[in-house]
């Protein structure tokens, strides 16, 4: 299969001491949505930052492994270069420029693009998110959380990436809005052929749009497969989709059972 991104045996260390990624491998097939799931602190955001080069600003370092983008190694490049090559990360927590207007935020997304295409890109964003158009001259800081998330994704659309890294787009959104945002992500993927690596806590939402998924724990991938497989896997159902196997509350023994299985799978 044609993988636009291949991460192999990635190891990341923060502050020279904390080993956060312990040999992580994954691949993103071109033009598809791949989900990366896992509990808090598993290292999902770290994985994305290692790909986009933003680790450096947090005193994190890739100490081993390779990141291949279109079969070329990109680890160690500065973030600007990586954005220019077509990888764009929407960071966790939206990271809107609050004292810029919505429109100025969007223009920032197109920073590495030719000026001539900005107007058209802007129309494209407004077509996906009509609500942003109404608020285009408003300060982004005064928008609701959902509108800010739209703005954050809008910036990514402005950048016209080949590979989009999305970090928890559902964070803090009401269920209805989560659905709306995921639909738009799906549409963006289909309309523009953008490859997406989607990090999520909301496994159900992520698996509904993704084709493949990886589940990570503690800096490693412990399970992977097609979204369908994972949706029907009893362990995933129990621990990521919140369906008790017998309908009871999860018991400690189940957890232990899961641990055993996890070790075996990992």
């Amino acid at each position: 299969m044609d993988d636009i991104l291949k991460v192999e045996n990635l190891e990341v260390v923060y502050n020279d001491v904390v080993l956060v990624l312990k040999g992580l491998s994954l691949a993103c097939p071109r033009g598809r949505i791949t989900a990366l799931l896992g509990a808090n602190g598993a290292g999902k955001s770290t994985t994305l930052k290692a790909i986009s080069g933003l680790l450096e600003t947090e005193d994190g370092e890739v100490t081993d492994g390779v990141v291949l983008y279109n079969d070329e190694p990109i680890q160690g490049l500065i973030p600007e270069r990586i954005v220019k090559r077509g990888i764009f990360q929407v960071m966790e927590g939206r990271r809107i420029f609050e004292d810029l207007t919505v429109e100025e935020n969007l223009r920032c997304g197109a920073f590495t693009r030719p000026r001539s295409e900005i107007a058209e890109s802007m129309e494209r964003v407004y077509a996906y998110f009509p609500r942003l158009k109404e608020r285009s001259r408003q300060l982004a800081g005064y928008m609701s959380g959902g509108e800010q998330q739209m703005c954050a994704i809008g910036r990514a659309i402005m950048a016209r990436p080949e590979l989009l890294l999305l970090d928890e787009p559902s964070l803090g959104l009401a269920p209805l809005l989560v659905e709306e945002i995921f639909e738009i992500i799906k549409r963006f993927n289909q309309d523009e052929g953008v490859t997406i690596l989607l990090v999520e806590q909301n496994a159900r939402a992520a698996l509904s749009v993704a084709e493949r998924a990886y589940i990570m724990e503690n800096g490693r991938v412990v399970m992977d497969g097609t979204a369908d497989d994972l949706l029907h896997n009893p362990d995933v159902q129990e621990f990521y989709l919140g369906m008790g196997r017998t309908g009871d509350k999860k018991s400690y023994r189940d957890v232990k059972h899961y641990r055993r299985r996890k070790r075996w799978l990992g």
Partner: protein
């Protein structure tokens, strides 16, 4: 009455120079969060370079002025590259101390090259005062004021509409998020220092045309603190108004002190007294950022 009007006009002119220097200070602070204690010395360097070019090298003033601007760009790049870039990620206080040190170095360099005597610029504009609303105003004052206004207009447009200007504001708000957009924040930092050097140099040249220069004009940098703190450390408009207000108030207070108490030299402290009073009323300055809070 005319006495005070005259003081206000003088205050506006001096204030517009404060505004320019404050603008440089605010741009650096906004983009890099560095409190630059060498702002006044950047004024001084600009003033001396232009002086040297016109008087010592006999270059026509307008060319000398343009070359000074070019030199300021280089100075800004040099400061950013050699002094500040190695400090990225260090404690704020170390960076501040470095700018304090840089101010001494710049000042000593100027004294080494030109001595400490007062130097007089050649007469560029006619000395014959122009009457404005019945008040005689020196042409150089008018030119100074207009030049400051133009610079402010240019930078306001720059920050509002140009891609780099918007990117600078974005970087000021969130460096990492700016990087994630592909904005090269090192270039942005360098750009901020260049702009700060340019506006300071313009301030220095204007000052030189009005009063002549000596190596103490760096003290102007101190006056800029009341101006920026009054305006709010991170607001361009605040810098403009803060500078004007401080300029006018210090002149008027000084005049009043002379008239009523027969006290000279009140000007030097007036700005700081005003500052303390204003901070008691508005601790974030007139236009300072109150974090945006959503309801």
């Amino acid at each position: 009455m005319e006495y005070y009007l005259q003081l206000i006009v003088n205050g506006l002119v001096v204030g517009s120079i404060y505004s320019l220097v404050a603008l440089g200070f605010v741009i650096i602070y906004k983009a890099t969060k560095v409190v630059n204690f060498a702002q006044g010395e950047m004024v001084m360097v600009g003033a001396y370079i232009c002086f040297a070019l016109t008087v010592q090298f006999n270059i026509p003033f307008i060319w000398a002025f343009l070359i000074t601007l070019g030199f300021s760009v280089l100075l800004g790049l040099a400061i950013e590259r050699m002094v500040l870039r190695p400090l990225i990620g260090e404690e704020h206080i170390s960076v501040i101390m470095v700018t304090v040190g840089m101010s001494s170095v710049l000042k000593s360099l100027v004294q080494l090259c030109w001595g400490t005597q007062i130097k007089v610029y050649p007469q560029v504009l006619p000395t014959e005062p122009v009457m404005i609303a019945g008040l005689p105003v020196a042409p150089v004052y008018i030119a100074a004021f207009i030049l400051s206004v133009i610079l402010f207009a240019v930078f306001s447009v720059f920050f509002k509409y140009s891609r780099t200007g918007v990117a600078m504001r974005a970087t000021a708000f969130d460096q990492q998020a700016a990087q994630s957009m592909g904005i090269g924040i090192k270039n942005i930092f360098a750009m901020s220092w260049c702009i700060a050097c340019i506006v300071s140099a313009v301030g220095g040249v204007i000052l030189g045309n009005i009063n002549g220069i000596n190596s103490h004009i760096g003290h102007l940098g101190l006056k800029v603190f009341p101006a920026v703190i009054l305006g709010g450390l991170d607001s361009l408009l605040g810098a403009a108004l803060g500078g004007l207000i401080i300029g006018v108030l210090e002149n008027v207070c000084d005049g009043a002190a002379r008239q009523f108490f027969n006290l000279g030299g009140f000007r030097e402290v007036a700005a700081f007294i005003i500052l303390v009073v204003i901070l008691m009323i508005k601790p974030y300055g007139l236009f300072g950022t109150k974090e945006i809070e959503r309801v």
